[in-house]
Each structure stands twice: as structure tokens, then as C-alpha cells.
Symmetry: C2
Subunit: 204 residues, 2 copies
């Protein structure tokens, strides 16, 4: 089956959204926790976590121009802090529910059934149930004028997880804990290990 640009443009809108989103493949499902300046908490699922660099440790998130993610974006811009949380596959329905369009002021923590937990280093709430809890410091917004999306860049200011997840070389064994993966807007998975490989060297 071959679809060209014109075929894609002529697809029915919902079909196209499902097709193109799922075509982009598998990615880490993350719950982004924020708090408004008034102290209202917010939790939203993102599937656009981007590794930008290890030193300094910088992660990006793509924010679309819609209402749900705007709450998260506004809170990040106002407070300069947010959390990134990875949950296990048993929470997939709750994680998905954070994408429901609640009014601003309603906390998705409560509605989805997650618990807030705080650390003195960060004003934003973590997800107590999360296997990996990352505190982020907002660094920069980069506009993507082509389609009005936004790249939110932050630096990692704290990482909390069970020490047993980290291999002697620093590798984080997320698959051992069945950390939730997503594809498209509504499909959830866990990872089944194929293997790790040594640094690739040119063949002679």
C-alpha cells in the first residue's frame, strides 16, 4: 500500500489523525505534573518526551495548540517547574484519563486517581505511584511556526527511582518494571527485551 501526500490530505480527519499519530511509532508515555500559581495542580499525559542532551541533561516536550496541554504549558511558564513521571502498565487507564478535557482548576490527579507527592526541591507535584519521578527546571520555549506547536525545553534537576533499576554502567532498566509505552493517541504497551549491544565500530 502506498499513500502519497495528496492521499494523506484527502483522508477523513479522525482517520488521518489516528493514522499519522500511530505511524510515528512507539514512545515513552509520561505524566507531566504542574501547579498553577494559585496552587491548583494539573496532570497531563504526553507522548513527546525528547532527549536533547546528557550534559547538561535536557529533555524536550512538544505542546500542541490545544486546551488541555495549554494548562500544563501556562503552569510551566508561570512556575518554571514541572515533573515528569513514568508509571507502570497497570495504570494505563488512569494515565489515559488525564487526557480528558477538564475545566481549568480541576485536578487530573484526583479525577484520574493518582496521588500527589512533593519534594522540597520542586514546587510541582510528583505522581506518588510513579516508578520514575523527574523534577524539571524550565529553560526555554522554542516555537515551531510551521504548525504552531511549541517545544518546551527543561533541564533535569532531580531524578528519583529505585536504585535497583540502574545497571552498573548507568543504564536504567525501565522494562523490568513494565514502564508504560504509548503509540498514537490511545494505544499502550510494555517493552519486551531484544538485547543490548556494544558500541558499534566500523568493520575493517
Amino acid at each position: 500500500m502506498i499513500l502519497d501526500k495528496q492521499d494523506l490530505e484527502q483522508l477523513e480527519q479522525n482517520y488521518r489523525r489516528t493514522f499519522v499519530n500511530s505511524l510515528a511509532g512507539f514512545r515513552q508515555a509520561v505524566l507531566v505534573g504542574t501547579s498553577s500559581v494559585e496552587g491548583n495542580t494539573n496532570l497531563a499525559i504526553f507522548n513527546s518526551l525528547i532527549h536533547l542532551g546528557a550534559n547538561p541533561a535536557l529533555f524536550g516536550l512538544i505542546s500542541r495548540p490545544d486546551r488541555v496541554q495549554r494548562d500544563t504549558l501556562q503552569n510551566i511558564l508561570h512556575t518554571k517547574e514541572y515533573t515528569i513521571n513514568y508509571v507502570g502498565a497497570e495504570f494505563y487507564e488512569k494515565a489515559h484519563h488525564t487526557s480528558a478535557r477538564y475545566e481549568r482548576g480541576v485536578s487530573e490527579f484526583e479525577k484520574a486517581g493518582f496521588h500527589e507527592i512533593y519534594h522540597p526541591s520542586c514546587s510541582a507535584p510528583f505522581v506518588e505511584e510513579a516508578i520514575v519521578k523527574i523534577a524539571m527546571q524550565f529553560e526555554q520555549i522554542i516555537d515551531i511556526p510551521l504548525n504552531e506547536t511549541i517545544l518546551i525545553i527543561g533541564s533535569v534537576k532531580q531524578v528519583e527511582m529505585d536504585a535497583s533499576l540502574v545497571a552498573p554502567d548507568g543504564f536504567v532498566n525501565l522494562s523490568e518494571e513494565n514502564v508504560l509505552i504509548s503509540q498514537g493517541l490511545d494505544a499502550y504497551f510494555v517493552a519486551k527485551t531484544i538485547g543490548r549491544l556494544p558500541y558499534a565500530k566500523p568493520l575493517q
Copy 2:
């Protein structure tokens, strides 16, 4: 275990790279095929495919400031075309080998053991063995000055895959074909399905 910013900065360099890269979680492993203006082909594994929008269908790739990915970047900038290819898990060693630092002019297709295939719509080579073959039109480069990485944005100009992979609502069943997933710089996985969920609506 809690690591703060200072702890991260003090980690040994290789340990930190492995830790932060793998901390960013699971993502689609993609092989990016390009051709230089002289006709030399290039194939490089990326784990930074970003869905930016469905209409128009826009995907991003993060390019680091290193030599291997610069070949890909230069070819994209010169020819304005590239391909994105997803392979099955059985090719994980070959896919990883495309990250070896070959001299410019040496084709990673040949060295890694993949075959080039062409379509009249695109000057860049596809991976014949790939389950999903996407032809991309270069649209824009966005600099990320914080750490000198680059966001390469392209629009989808053609998608080729077996029609049986696409569900009636447009969802692409990549997990059925054991499409390769990566984590960090050297770990490979396939996806095990948890489930798909309906559009999330607010609880009353």
C-alpha cells in the same frame, strides 16, 4: 535513590551519557536513508522521531552535533529529501551497526547489510527490508542553542507498508510486526500490547 543536578554533573561522562539517554525511555528506532549530491548513500539510526502534527503530517528528528549524524544532516540539506524506515526486531544488530563511524563516502547500507530500494517519488534510498517506508520532504531546521542540537522538520510525502497493518480506524499495528524499539544508545525491544482505549471524557 535521589540524584540532584549536582550529582548528575559529577557522574563519570560515559555513565552519565548512558544514564540520561536511557532515562528518557522508549522510542521508535528509525533508519534514516539519504543520498549525497554525488550519489553516495547513507543510513543512520535515530531514536528521536517526533510527531509534530497530522495535517500536514510533520515529523521531526533531533540531530546531535556529531560526525555520523552530520552526514545525514548535510545530505538532507543538500537534497531536501530523506527516508524514514522501521525494521523488525530481527534486524536489531544491523540497525545498530549503522551508528558506526564510517568515513563519508562509505555506505552504511552495504556495511550493515541492508539493501537500497528506490521509488520515483524520492531521490533518497529506502531500506528494502523495512516494514514501514516513509519518504520525507525537508521543510525547516530549528536550532536549539542551549546545547547546539538541531531539530530537522520534514513533511511526509509518501508512506509505504502492507495494507493489512492498518486498522479500519487508521491505526497502524506496528506491534504485530515486531517493529524495533530502542532505549538509550544500545538497547532494543519490541512492544507487547496492553490495550487501546476510547477517547477520554471528563467524569461527571
